[in-house]
Point group: C2
Chain length 106, copies 2
């Protein structure tokens, strides 16, 4: 147990959240995730997740981009995101203070 929490299990949730705001490509997601986590996730991490989420109907491919596939959240995805967020808040209900201490990112 190297460090207390390698934050596994958050990837799908975070991708769903990111895609719910802007349509994004796999590469864009890798960059943003890398920015937040400190290390950029490998292709073998991101693309299978996107595939699984597509198969679940939570995101949908939209044609934009030259050589990029952009993904967008679907209605089912929004529903899933809503319930996952509720669960998340329920678990981390007492972290509001910590968030308040930090100014919002750009």
């Amino acid at each position: 147990m190297g460090n207390c929490c390698d934050m596994r299990g958050f990837l799908t949730f975070t991708v769903l959240r990111l895609v719910s705001k802007n349509s994004m490509s796999g590469e864009e997601l890798r960059q943003e995730l890398g920015r937040r986590k400190g290390s950029k996730p490998s292709p073998g991490t991101v693309y299978p997740v996107l595939k699984a989420m597509s198969a679940n109907g939570w995101i949908r491919e939209v044609g934009h981009g030259i050589r990029e596939k952009k993904y967008r959240i679907t209605a089912a995805g929004k529903k899933e995101l809503k319930s996952a967020t509720k669960k998340f808040i329920s678990i981390f209900c007492d972290m509001k203070d910590e968030f308040d201490k930090v100014s919002a990112r750009s």
Copy 2:
């Protein structure tokens, strides 16, 4: 992929946070975790985690309780919690709004 986020990987983090506020026993932790997650984690989940965290020096057994072992956070545990929290906030930096919408629990 049953649901978007089964919140795996956050148990140690959450236990560390709970124990940092009040000294708690394994059973008390199971109850509180169950309250938050919806399902009470099994003994086979909680006790190995407590053992590992003790081995890491993040929590320490304190004698209180009749037939319960209470655990308390250590200095090393506080340090670990601080860095983990920082990482957590960095990943979920844009969830402040969601937290603001929810009133604090008792």
